[in-house]
């Protein structure tokens, strides 16, 4: 039994979520009494792979090919299948990124498997790994186990595991104080790749820099209608705050995309973050949970947003927000 973690990079820069998965892989390996290795795919990724050498891994695979320069699901699937044959891991772990969502199901299906996608935690029971996933948009949890022959596949939700610390001390009696980087050149023919990706781009010309704001007030589905946004703007004025939003608000066109906070928008960590009418889907939480003080106003006292908030008012935002504006003005 061994664990392989597939790290993600784009144009020579790590996707930081990879380090959460790396830390999880090492933890799984410890608890299952086995070893962890890591792989990174791309072109000219030697320096990135070398950064993983001091991570107390059994092996680091640098999977190198010119046809891996730009991500395609075809090339990644082909390269990883060849790597799995070589490395023979029992469990293959991925960060649940948009890219992983694109190729992991295909890779697993090509081997007759289903990946346990978006796992949030784990435990080891009788030497077996039990992974916890969320069903019904976080309302229900499910414990899952792998069955049948290796390799088994899983991806981990953003924020589920704290990221690996670059200078983590070697565990007592670690067998692999620093690991050798092994170069692997998969065979990929031009005909294997059926899609042609073009250069990534950003859409907004004038990006609202939410990252620079000291106070952000964000609004979500609970606002019900675009016509109610001025109510929130009164609060942003009273607080001297920047206005943010959860995804549904931007999708509906009620606020421009550049105000979106979350995994598909901006990641922010202001002095104070106030979430109004936002239930707290994980995609939103990953974009704001590092804020120093979090305040939530939501009708549902069981909403997940109250799990990350420091202060909360469980109530109707259409009553609470005007009351809050008044209280702020009074206390000036």
């Amino acid at each position: 039994m061994s664990i392989l973690v597939v790290m993600e990079q784009r144009a020579g820069a790590w996707n930081r979520m990879s380090f959460e998965t790396l830390a999880a892989a090492r933890q799984f390996a410890r608890e299952l009494d086995t070893t962890a290795s890591a792989a990174v795919l791309g072109h000219s990724i030697g320096p990135l792979a070398a950064e993983l050498a001091p991570k107390h891994l059994e092996k680091v695979y640098a999977v190198e090919h010119t046809r891996l320069q730009d991500y395609t699901p075809d090339a990644y699937t082909i390269a990883l299948r060849q790597l799995l044959e070589l490395a023979q891991p029992s469990i293959v772990l991925f960060p649940q990124t948009y890219q992983v969502r694109d190729f992991l199901p295909k890779l697993a299906a090509s081997l007759g498997k289903v990946a346990v996608s978006d796992a949030i935690s784990h435990r080891v029971e009788d030497g077996q790994l039990v992974l916890v996933r969320q069903l019904f948009q976080g309302k229900v949890n499910v414990d899952s186990r792998f069955a049948g022959d290796a390799p088994h596949f899983a991806s981990l939700q953003a924020g589920a595991y704290p990221p690996d610390q670059p200078a983590a001390p070697a565990p007592e009696g670690a067998a692999h104080p620093s690991s050798a980087v092994e170069k692997f050149a998969p065979r990929i023919s031009p005909g294997d790749i059926r899609t042609r990706p073009l250069e990534p781009f950003r859409e907004s010309q004038h990006l609202v820099d939410l990252g620079a704001a000291e106070i952000i007030v964000s609004v979500g589905r609970g606002i019900k209608d675009a016509g109610n946004i001025p109510l929130i703007e009164k609060l942003t004025q009273a607080l001297g705050a920047e206005l943010g939003a959860s995804r549904p608000i931007c999708d509906a066109g009620w606020l421009p995309n550049e105000r979106q906070v979350g995994s598909s928008g901006q990641t922010v960590a202001p002095k104070m973050y106030m979430a109004i009418g936002i239930s707290g889907a994980i995609q939103h939480l990953v974009g704001m949970k590092a804020s120093r003080t979090i305040v939530a106003i939501n009708r549902d006292p069981d909403a997940p947003i109250f799990e990350v908030a420091d202060y909360g008012i469980a109530g109707d935002l259409f009553q609470v927000v005007p009351a809050l504006v008044e209280a702020l003005q009074r206390s000036k």
Binding site: P105, G112, V130, L135, T195, S264, D310, I313
Partner: protein
């Protein structure tokens, strides 16, 4: 362009869920079902493509008899015909994404569409895998989290969403499979005329046995097993102020000023 949209029926979002006594699934009896919201966007994208380029939209859905309602709604919105893969209640609860995709793929091989569309993920299981698995089973190129589709010489150009506000165009030949990002278009409502027309549209019913994807030979061993379902323990760390909005607001402002010192 011949388009098949794979849709799923799920419990409506505000359902009060209860865990079944087996612990392996939820109690299915007593709530309303609706189209999986991400699939509603895939259907919308399919209907818009048909309006731009002509052709046919077929709604494909696997599930117990109750999913007929969801197929009818798709027909009322403008899909030309439906295909219902009939499953028993127990069967469908036990199916993982790969098993479901095998059923869908068996139908899709016969239909041979130019484009297969589906939602990003389901609101119930949330695996987010059926689309790319289908592409693999059918040998089709694919793209996920697609915001826009445009025909061009030799195939299509799609706009994919990447993380952190980045996007990317991808060119690919047809036939292909796409998973559609939610929220990209405004969803249409069924018109009265549409509902009337839907009644005369064809819904073909097939079973797993018809498709040769039934029994121990057709269904390979699952690679993931379910131990049990349960409600998560909520760990609330917020200091919650409830009751009268004026008082709650005043207490919050006091805390923010003197305890958190952020205003």
């Amino acid at each position: 362009m011949k388009i098949v949209v794979a849709i799923k029926q799920v419990p409506s979002r505000d359902s009060e869920l209860r865990i079944a006594s087996s612990g392996k699934w939820i109690e299915e009896a007593d709530f309303a079902y609706e189209i999986n919201e991400p699939d509603a966007y895939a259907l919308e994208a399919g209907l818009r493509l048909k309006e731009s380029y002509g052709g046919e939209v077929v709604a494909l859905c696997a599930g117990p008899p109750r999913v007929t309602q969801t197929i009818r709604e798709a027909l009322a919105k403008g899909a030309d015909r439906g295909i219902h893969i009939e499953l028993e209640d127990e069967d469908h609860a036990a199916l993982d994404s790969l098993a479901t995709a095998r059923l869908l793929a068996a139908v899709l091989r016969g239909e041979a569409p130019d484009l297969v569309l589906t939602g990003l993920q389901s609101d119930d299981l949330g695996y987010g895998q059926t689309g790319p698995i289908l592409a693999e089973l059918l040998g089709l190129p694919h793209a996920t989290i697609v915001m826009h589709v445009e025909k061009q010489a030799g195939g299509i150009r799609v706009k994919r969403e990447l993380e952190g506000g980045w996007f990317q165009h991808v060119d690919m030949p047809l036939p292909a499979l796409l998973t559609i990002q939610s929220g990209i278009d405004k969803l249409r409502y069924a018109t009265l005329m549409g509902i009337k027309k839907a009644k005369s549209k064809e819904v073909r019913r097939v079973t797993a046995a018809d498709l040769g994807v039934a029994g121990p030979e057709g269904v390979p061993a699952a690679s993931v097993t379910v131990d049990r379902l349960y409600f998560p323990q909520r760990i609330k760390r917020a200091q919650l102020f409830e009751g009268d909005p004026q008082q709650a607001a005043a207490r919050l402002v006091e805390k923010l000023r003197f305890e958190a010192r952020v205003i």
